[in-house]
Structures are given as C-alpha cells and as structure tokens.
Amino acid sequence: MFVQPRYEYRRPAELDGRRRHCVIVVGAGPVGLAAAIDLASRGQPVLLLDDDDTVSVGSRAICYSKRTLEILDRLGCGEPIATKGVSWKVGKVYQGDELAYQFDLLPEEGHHRPAFVNLQQYHFEACLVERARSLPTLELRWRHKVTAVRQGDESVTLTVATDDGDYAVTCDWLVVCDGARSPVRHMLGLDFEGRVFRDRFLIADIRMSSDFPAERRFWFDPPFHRNHSVLLHRQSDDVWRVDFQLGWDADPELEKQPERIEPRLRAMLGDDARFSIVWSSVYTFQCRRMQKFRHGRLLFAGDAAHLVSPFGARGANSGIQDADNLAWKLDFVIRGLAPASLLDTYDAERVAAADENLRNSTRSTDFITPKSAISRTFRDAVLSLARRHAFARTLVNSGRLSVPAVLADSPLNTHDGDAFAGKMVPGAVACDAPVDGPRGRWLLEHLCAEFTLMVFGRVDEATASSFAAARVPTRVLQVGGAGGVRDVEGLVASRYDGRDGTSYLFRPDQHVCARWRSFDRERVNAAVMRATGH
C-alpha cells in the first residue's frame, strides 16, 4: 500500500536576502522532475519549486513508454521504475465480447526496456524525487507557490508565496512544467488553443488479486457496458485501472459515487470478484497546445505546453521527451557551447512532436467518441469488418500508443549523403541493441551525456582524443574495435545498417543527427556545429 509522502518545507534563503539562480523549474511533476534531474546531472545548479508537498494524489498517468524508461536510465532512475512497474506489450481490442484485433508493440528481442510499464504516477514521481534529492546541485522547495512572473531582457523575476511570506527570486532561465492548468501560462496571458471533446470517462482504480495477464484490453460496446467503451490496465501493487466511457450526458458528481461505480465493476468482473476501489475520477479531455513553447527566457514543457487525450499514453511520455530535448540544449547554452538560438530548436522540434501527438490522439478520439451518426456508422463498419478481414484491423483505433517522435525536419540534422537502409534516419531516437562493453550490456548505456560518434570499426586513439578535447566535446564509441563495444548478436550492425567505416553522430538526447558510410573528421565537426545551432 502506498503511503503518501510529505516532503518538508524549508524557509528559503531569499527571505533573508536576494539570490539569483541560473535555472528555476516550476512544477515537480514527472516533467519538471525529469528536466531538473537532467540539468543537475549535467552539473547545472537548479532550483525546483512546487506548490504542494507531496507526489500525485491518485494514480493518474500510468503508462510509461520504452523511450521514457530509456530517458530515465540516462537520468539514473530507470531501474527502480522498470522493476516496480508492470511490463506489457500486447494490446487486445474487443468488439462486444469478441476479439477484433490484437497488437504487439515490441515484437522483437534485443531491447533493454519493454514496450511499456504501467506504474501509478505517485510511484513514478516518488522515484524521481528520490533521485532529485541525491543530486547536490538540485534544490527542491516544497510548498513554494509561484504567484507572479515578470520577464526582463536579462532575467526572469518570480514572486513566490510560502508559509513564511512572499519572496522574490530571479533567474536566467525559467522552465515551466506546472501542468495542464499552468498558473504561469495564465499569469502571462499566453494562448492555449485547441478542442474540447464532448465525452466523459470514469476511472476506477481497484485493488484486486487476479492472474489476468498484463496486457492492455479495450472493449467497444461490451455486454457489461453497452454502447460505450472500456479500457483495462494492470498497475503495480495489484491495482487495476478500469476506464469506462460514460458519454457527455453523464453527471460527473453522481458517477463518482462508489454506489454507482461498484455495479459497473460487478457487471464487468462478475458477482464473485473481490475488489476494493482505491481511487476514482470522472474526466473530460481536451486537445490543445501553445503556439510557441519558448517565450524568451521561459520554456514551457509537458501538459503546460500541450494537452492530448489519454488514449495513446502520449501525455506524460511526450512531456518526458520535452525535458529530454530541452535539458541538454539549455545546458549547452549556459555553458557557452551553443548560442541561445539553439533553444528555438527545442520549440521547433517539440512543437512538431506535439502536433504528431495531437493528430494521433485526436484520431483515436474520433474513433472512440464518434461525433456524428455517420462517423459512428463507419466506426461500427470497421469493427464489424475487422472480425473477418485483416485490412480492417489496421483501421481499428483504440489509441495509437506513444512512440518517440522522429525529428525528421529538424534544422539540427545533417542530411544523408550516403545510402542507408532501416529506420535510423537523422532525427530518429537511437535504437537499443545488446552489446558487450565497458558500461554494460546495452548500446544505449554507451551513449554519453555529450555528443557520441559511433563508428563501426577502428578509430585511432589520437583522433578519439581530439574529438573529446574539441570545443563541443564528442566521445567516440567504436563498435567492434578495441576499447569499444562488441556487437554480440549482430543487431547493432543490422539495426543501423552498419558496415566497416559507418559512422553515426548522436546528440546528447540520443537522437541521430548525422551518419556517413565513412569516417571523416571535417564532416563530423561540421555536423556537431550544425547540431549545436552554430
């Protein structure tokens, strides 16, 4: 059973004299914590402010993608979350009580992390808080509520309310991760355009012992909840998430009552099932985004910047990718390794990613919640055909689950001059593969916090050390050579279409930004400069 932690409030030094910070992060949810941990791991002093003194109340976001786990591995907290979470990769979609469609999100071996783990948001946040507290340059302040924000040419000034009164604090950069209702966004009167969907959903998290498999199950029009959809997920601690579509006319206050929820669960699980309701919520959802994620010295990330429907697990996972994209760029700008304009590419890349997420999530919603009679007819036609015909199964949309954005149009990419097969195009996230190397058994563990140049074959030591000593340091990782990693199953070569001499340049966030068939120092230097916004 999860015991809600209470983190201690401390009187801030600013009440006794003003101090200037380099980076302040507002909001210690999953995204703010990830951003602050990333920056502090890179040695940056970070102040993280949260208006509360605990983690998420209720399980809320529960599906964390492979990419999120890989990012957390880099941040030093992937393992506890992967271990505590429930791994899954299979999704089943039912029409009525018949299986209409089944998908496998990771049908191949040779990856460190599973397609997804399900874990209550409070566990997720508690793991990140623990990691944050171990970092000497990260100061976490609980019950510090930002009440005013003023941006000047050279700094941002915040007013923060505490139990001991208000104080002012200034910083060079403000990372805003204060959630869907983003008080900071409101204080600045910034836009948040989009659509509201006219449907309501009931979440019931129940504790139940069951040997039901760990897979995502989705029903359209099941016998136990006619004319609506139901989603089932397994979480850790024997907690299960049941999500009932209720329709727009449902009364949210009424539907929250346990006397209303229990019969719904009984109809689904049977009269003999033993369960207890641990958390429930009735929600509606919206698809929105800010026009720009960078506003001068303010950088918005996560739900504060973009909001999607929950079908597809694209909320928290895209927010963690925002943090992943932003942290190294901000670090490089602060260290003087990149011009401030590099932060505009955070905006460009993550706006494009948000649009992809919004597009996918809106399409899923249109399938799950048809907005017209004809839309409903086509939906039912797809489901009816799916039972007999393979083509129709590809149209069934119960949520297209989060995959990392391929930043194909990024200005930081160097376009291919050579021919390559496979998926590792400039902009793609590095694909993991089993290796034998000094840092462990997986390729991603060998990509460092700076730029990494992965070379198939040998690179002489003098070249490698000159890259390491360059203005923008780049570490050389040899595949096959001495001191590098051994491609134990040949999967690095096959996934990267690697031959002797093939070289890949990875950004600090593990995205491919350039690749060549042969190693050439000048071309690598030019690609590193391009990828750092020079």
């Binding site: 006219r198 009679a373 004809i374 086509f378 039912d380 036609a381 015909h389 129709a392 149209l395």
Partner: protein, 72 residues
C-alpha cells in the same frame, strides 16, 4: 494513377441492380452500415491515397451542408 471517371463498368445495369439488391430487406441503419462497409472494402482495394482523395472530393462535389459547421 488518376481517378477513373470515364465509363469503366462492363455492364453498368448489372452493377446497379446488384448494388440495390445488396440492400434488399434492410432498414436505413442497416443500409448505412452496409454502405459504410462497402466504402471501406473498396477503399482498401483501391489502396492509392491520391485516387481515394480524388474520389472523396468528387463525391462531395455539389453537396452543400444544410448548416454551417459549428464550433465544438
């Protein structure tokens, strides 16, 4: 490939009769479902997105919405 809008059916009357026959005995809702399935089956058979877009545009031509689209 372009959308074929010149005559392409070997026996147009046979096709038309078969189409109407497909709906025999169905109420409006069932007919709507059958039509929707038919569209999906044919769309998959065609496969080419450009052709499908051209077909959807041609189908929509001259059909004026009864009410302007509202904001939701």
């Amino acid at each position: 490939m372009d959308l074929i809008t010149s005559a392409n059916l070997a026996a147009p009357d046979d096709f038309y009769e078969a189409l109407i026959e497909t709906h025999r005995g169905l109420d409006d809702a069932q007919s709507a479902l059958v039509n929707a399935k038919l569209v999906l089956i044919l769309a998959n058979h065609v496969g080419d997105m450009d052709v499908l877009r051209a077909a959807m545009t041609a189908a929509r031509q001259d059909v004026i919405p009864a009410q302007p689209e509202g904001r939701t």
